[in-house]
C-alpha cells in the first residue's frame, strides 16, 4: 500500500513537471508580448526592451524554463506582471471559492446524474426513460454559458429566488453549481443507465432473485454497488472537465475563483499567473485520478493496488 502510494506520487510529480514544460513552450510561442501589455500602447520601444530585460524575457528559452522550475521547487510560483502580488497569494485567496464551487457541482451532478441514470435503467424503453434520455442529451449538448444565462434569467431575474451574482451565502452557490454540474449530470446519467442495465443482466442478479430477495434489496445491495464501479474512475477524470467549465461559469456569475483569475490573466498575457493556474488545475486533475484509484480497491475487492 505505502509502496504503491509512493510510486504513484512519484509518477504524479513527473507528470506535473511534464505539464510545466508543455505549458511553458506554448506560452513562449504565443505571439503576444507581455512586456508590451505591461508598458502600454504608447510606450517606446526602449521602455518595452527594458521591461523585457527586467523580466528576463530576452534570455534563451531553456534558461527561462530552468529559472521557473527551480523557483517552483522552492515553492515560488513567481510574481504577477500586472497585479502587484505573488502568484501563490493570488491563487491562495481565490482557490477556496473555486473548491467550494467544484464540490457543490460534483454533488449536484452525481445527485442528478446517478438518480436519472438509475430511474431510466429501471424504466428501460418506457416513456420515462425516453424523456430522461432526451434531457440528458440536451444537457450534454447545451453550452455552459447558455445554461448559465438562462438559469440567471429565470431564477434570479424573473423569479428572484437566487442572487444574480457574487459570493458569500449558500444561495450564491446554487446557480453556478447547477450550471457547472449540468453537463456532468448528462454524462453520468447516460453512463449510470448503461451500467445498471449491464449489471441487471448479470448472473448474480438472477441468483439474488432465486434467493427470494425483494426488488428493493436486489437493487440496493446487488445492482447499485456493482453499477457504480465504472463511475468512480470517471469522477477522477471529471475534475479536468470542471477546470475548463469553471472559467466560463465564474465569468458568467462573477464568482471570485481561479477561473476568473485565469480569464483575466489570459487576456493580458500575465504569464506567471497563467502558469500558476495551469499548475493548480493540473495538480487537481492528477490528485483526482490518484484519489479515484485509491478509492476503487476499497469498493471493489477484486482490484488490488500494485
Amino acid at each position: 500500500m505505502s509502496a504503491y502510494l509512493v510510486r504513484r506520487l512519484f509518477e504524479s510529480a513527473l507528470i506535473l513537471i511534464g505539464i510545466t514544460l508543455v505549458t511553458f513552450v506554448l506560452l513562449y510561442l504565443v505571439p503576444a508580448d507581455p512586456a508590451r501589455q505591461i508598458a502600454g500602447r504608447s510606450a517606446t520601444v526602449e521602455t518595452v526592451q527594458n521591461i523585457r530585460d527586467q523580466l528576463g524575457l530576452n534570455d534563451p528559452f531553456f534558461l527561462q524554463y530552468w529559472r521557473y522550475l527551480t523557483a517552483l521547487f522552492q515553492g515560488d510560483m513567481g510574481r504577477s506582471y500586472l497585479q502587484r502580488a505573488e502568484v501563490s497569494e493570488l491563487i491562495a485567496t481565490r482557490l477556496p471559492a473555486s473548491l467550494l464551487l467544484m464540490v457543490a457541482a460534483i454533488v449536484t451532478e452525481l445527485a442528478f446524474g446517478l438518480t436519472i441514470g438509475i430511474v431510466a435503467a429501471l424504466r428501460r424503453n418506457k416513456p420515462v426513460d425516453h424523456g430522461l434520455m432526451i434531457f440528458s442529451f440536451v444537457s450534454i449538448s447545451a453550452p455552459q454559458f447558455v445554461i448559465g444565462i438562462l438559469l440567471l434569467y429565470v431564477f434570479a431575474v424573473k423569479l428572484g429566488w437566487f442572487p444574480i451574482g457574487g459570493y458569500g451565502t449558500f444561495a450564491h452557490v446554487v446557480l453556478p453549481a447547477v450550471t457547472l454540474g449540468f453537463l456532468g449530470a448528462g454524462w453520468y446519467s447516460r453512463m449510470m443507465r448503461s451500467s445498471v442495465i449491464d449489471v441487471l443482466g448479470q448472473d448474480f442478479v438472477r441468483t439474488a432473485q432465486a434467493k427470494g430477495l425483494g426488488k428493493a434489496r436486489i437493487i440496493l445491495r446487488h445492482v447499485l454497488p456493482n453499477a457504480i464501479l465504472p463511475i468512480i474512475a470517471m469522477i477522477g477524470i471529471d475534475i479536468g472537465l470542471f477546470m475548463s467549465g469553471i472559467v466560463v461559469v465564474e465569468s458568467v456569475f462573477g464568482w471570485p475563483g481561479i477561473g476568473q483569475l485565469a480569464w483575466q490573466a489570459i487576456q493580458r498575457v500575465d504569464i506567471p499567473v497563467i502558469m500558476g493556474v495551469t499548475m493548480v488545475s493540473a495538480t487537481a486533475i492528477v490528485l483526482g485520478n490518484l484519489l479515484a484509484d485509491l478509492v476503487a480497491p476499497l469498493v471493489d475487492p477484486r482490484i488490488k493496488m500494485k
Partner: protein, 576 residues
C-alpha cells in the same frame, strides 16, 4: 409411492420474437417425488432451462411467459403466483443452482454476506445466529477451511468452490426441491465428480427432490432415477433411467444415446504410414510475469508451460488433455506466436524462434487454429464467404474468380452449400458455424490444425458430425492435428498420441491405448475415473477425493521441479 412434491402438468412457455410468439416449451408434464432425482435431458434449444426458470418464476420478462399449464408445489399452485408469493417460495421451498459458478455470485459481497442474506430473508435464523449457520452450511457442502472462506470474496475461490457456495445458499432453508441447471458443465471433470457426489450426499441426508437439467448423458446415467428427454420444447420420451439406456423407445433417444462418446469403446486407430514430422517442439516454456512493488519489478511468474517437448507427424493426431489452467491452450497459442515463448518450435523443419510478425506470416500458413466458441470466432458483420476467403487474400494466394472458386470448394469440402456464402454468421447453427471455421482454417492448406476445444460447445449429435468431418479431412489430406480438449471420451475417439498435462508439465504421454487404457500416473487415473459413464448399470465406484492441484504461480527466481519422463513401454512415458 409417496406424494409428489412437484407436479408439472401441460406446462407451455411462449417467447416473443420479432416474427410473433413462439412456443419454446409445449405441454410438458412430470412428477417429482421426495428423495428422487429427475433429469431433464436434451440438446440446446430443447426448452430444458426454460422449464427450470418457469418453475422458479424467473422467466425473463417481458419476452417470455407461461402460456398454459400448471406447476404445483405440494398444494401450492405456482403458475400465476404474485411476485410476493414467489419470493416466499424461492430458496425456501424451491432452490436453484446455475451453470456458471464464476458469475453467479455477487463479486462485491463476502461468502458470509451472501449466505446470511438468504437465511435472514426467509427468517431461518436471527441475525446473531447467521454467522454460525453460514459456517455450518459451508461445512455441509464440504468446503475446505470453512472459517476462512466465510470472509472471502467470490474471486478468491475456484469454480468448484463457488459452486459449493451456490449449493450452500440453495440449501440454506432446506428446500423441498433443488433445481440444478447444468451445475457441472462449466467445471473440470474431477471437480464435476466431486460436485455430483456432494449433491447426491446432500439429497440422501435431506430427502430433497432434485430436478437436474443437463445435456450430458454421462451425468444423466450417474444421477437420475428417471429421465425426461426433451427436443424442440416437447417431451420425446420419459422413462426410468435404466430402461432408457437399456432400450430407448423413441428414435430421437436412440440417436442421442448412439452419438454419446463412450470412454473405452472407441475403435482402434488405423495404422498409418510414418509421415514426415510436421511440427517439432522442444523444451517449450511460456511464463507470464506478475509485477509489483515500488519499481514495478517482476515479483512472481505464472509458469503456464514448462519445458514441454513433442512432435507431430503428417496424418497424425496428438491430443493434449488436462484440466483448466494446465497450460494446454497456451501451447496452441504459443505455436502461432500469440504469446511470447522460449524453447524451440520447428514447423516443417523451419525454426520459428525469434521470428517477427512479418517472417512468421508464411509459417502461419502451415498452422491454423479452430477455436472453442464457433459463434465468437466469426465476425458477425462479414459474410461467411468473405471470412473463409480472407486468409487467401491476406496471403495473396488467390483473387477474382479463382478466389470464388476456391471458397466454393472449401464450402463443399466441409459439407456446406456454396449458396450459403453470402449469408452472415447469425443465420447458421452452432455446428454449421464450426464447419465455417474449419473451412476458414483449411483455406490456406495448412499442414497442422490446432483444434482448441473445437467441439466442446456443440451438442453431442453435432459434435459427432464435426469429429467425423475432421477425421475425413485428415484421411484425405494427411493433415496433422493438435487436438486440445478436456473431454477424455472425445480424445479417445480422435487421438493417435495422447499427452496428459498438469500445471504446465507433461505427466504422461504415449500412444492412445497405452495412456488411456493402461494409465500409469496417478493424475491420469484420477482424470479417467472421474469421467461419468453413460451407462446406469456401471456406476463409478470410487469416489473422487478432493485434491488441491497446486498453483502454477511461483515467486521470481523459483519454479516447479522439473518432471522427468521415464519410458514404461516403447511408446509410453510417465513422469516419476
Amino acid at each position: 409411492m409417496n406424494q409428489p412434491v412437484l407436479t408439472v402438468r401441460d406446462l407451455s412457455v411462449q417467447v416473443a420474437t420479432p416474427s410473433g410468439a413462439k412456443m419454446v416449451l409445449e405441454g410438458l408434464s412430470f412428477d417429482l417425488r421426495a428423495g428422487e432425482t429427475l433429469c431433464l435431458a436434451g440438446e440446446s434449444g430443447s426448452g430444458k432451462s426454460m422449464t427450470a426458470l418457469a418453475i422458479m418464476g424467473l422467466l425473463p420478462k417481458p419476452m417470455c411467459r407461461i402460456a398454459g399449464g400448471s406447476v404445483k408445489l405440494g398444494e401450492t399452485e405456482l403458475v400465476g403466483l404474485s411476485d410476493a408469493g414467489y419470493r416466499q417460495i424461492r430458496t425456501a421451498r424451491v432452490a436453484m443452482i446455475f451453470q456458471e459458478p464464476m458469475t453467479s455470485l455477487n463479486p462485491l459481497m463476502t461468502v458470509q454476506q451472501q449466505l446470511s442474506e438468504t437465511l435472514l430473508e426467509h427468517g431461518a435464523c436471527t441475525r446473531a445466529e447467521a454467522p454460525g449457520r453460514a459456517l455450518q452450511l459451508l461445512r455441509d457442502v464440504q468446503l475446505t477451511e470453512p472459517d476462512r472462506r466465510l470472509k472471502q470474496y467470490p474471486h478468491e475461490l475456484s469454480g468448484g468452490m463457488r459452486q459449493r457456495v451456490m449449493i450452500a445458499i440453495a440449501l440454506a432453508c432446506d428446500p423441498e426441491v433443488l433445481i440444478a441447471d447444468e451445475p457441472t458443465t462449466a467445471l473440470d471433470v474431477t471437480v464435476q465428480a466431486e460436485i455430483l457426489d456432494l449433491i447426491r450426499d446432500l439429497q440422501r441426508d435431506h430427502g430433497t427432490a432434485v430436478l437436474m437439467i443437463t445435456h450430458d448423458m454421462g451425468v444423466v446415467a450417474e444421477m437420475a432415477d428417471r429421465v425426461v428427454i426433451l427436443r424442440h420444447g416437447c417431451e420425446v420420451e420419459s422413462a426410468p433411467v435404466r430402461d432408457l439406456f437399456a432400450a430407448p423407445q423413441s428414435a430421437y433417444a436412440q440417436e442421442l444415446l448412439a452419438a454419446v462418446p463412450r470412454l473405452g469403446s472407441a475403435p482402434p486407430r488405423p495404422a498409418k504410414p510414418q509421415g514426415p514430422t510436421v511440427l517439432k517442439v522442444d523444451d517449450l516454456t511460456v511464463r507470464f510475469d506478475v509485477t509489483g512493488g515500488l519499481l514495478n519489478r517482476v515479483t512472481a511468474r505464472v509458469h503456464a508451460v514448462e519445458g514441454v517437448s513433442f512432435d507431430i507427424r503428417a496424418g497424425e493426431t496428438l491430443a493434449l488433455v488436462g484440466e483448466s489452467g494446465c497450460g494446454k491452450s497456451t501451447i496452441g497459442k504459443a505455436l502461432l506466436g500469440l504469446v511470447p515463448w522460449q524453447g524451440s518450435v520447428l514447423v516443417n523443419g523451419r525454426q520459428t524462434r525469434g521470428m517477427g510478425p512479418a517472417r512468421l506470416k508464411p509459417v502461419r500458413r502451415d498452422i491454423q487454429m479452430v477455436f472453442q466458441d464457433p459463434g465468437a470466432s466469426l465476425d458477425s458483420r462479414m459474410t461467411v464467404g468473405d471470412q473463409v476467403a480472407e486468409p487467401l487474400l491476406i496471403h495473396g494466394l488467390a483473387s477474382g474468380s479463382e478466389l470464388t472458386d476456391r471458397t466454393e470448394h472449401l464450402f463443399r469440402r466441409v459439407g456446406l452449400s456454396p449458396d450459403m456464402m453470402a449469408r452472415y454468421p447469425h443465420e447458421f447453427s452452432g455446428g454449421q458455424r464450426q464447419r465455417i471455421n474449419i473451412a476458414r482454417a483449411l483455406s490456406l492448406s495448412p499442414k497442422l490444425i490446432v483444434a482448441d476445444e473445437s467441439v466442446s460447445a456443440l451438442d453431442v449429435s453435432v459434435q459427432a458430425q464435426v469429429l467425423g468431418l475432421l477425421q475425413e479431412i485428415q484421411d484425405e489430406d494427411g493433415l496433422a492435428f493438435l487436438f486440445i480438449s478436456h473431454d477424455m471420451a472425445v480424445i479417445e475417439q480422435v487421438a493417435d498420441q495422447v499427452m496428459v498435462m498438469r500445471l504446465g508439465q507433461v505427466v504422461e504421454e504415449g500412444a492412445r491405448d497405452a495412456v488411456l487404457r493402461d494409465p500409469r500416473h496417478a493424475y491420469t487415473r484420477r482424470l479417467l475415473s472421474a469421467v461419468p459413464v453413460p451407462d446406469p448399470t456401471q456406476l463409478r465406484h470410487e469416489r473422487i477425493e478432493t485434491e488441491s492441484l497446486g498453483s502454477p504461480i511461483w515467486p521470481a527466481g523459483q519454479g516447479p521441479e522439473k518432471l522427468h519422463l521415464n519410458a514404461v513401454a516403447p511408446d509410453h512415458r510417465v513422469a516419476v
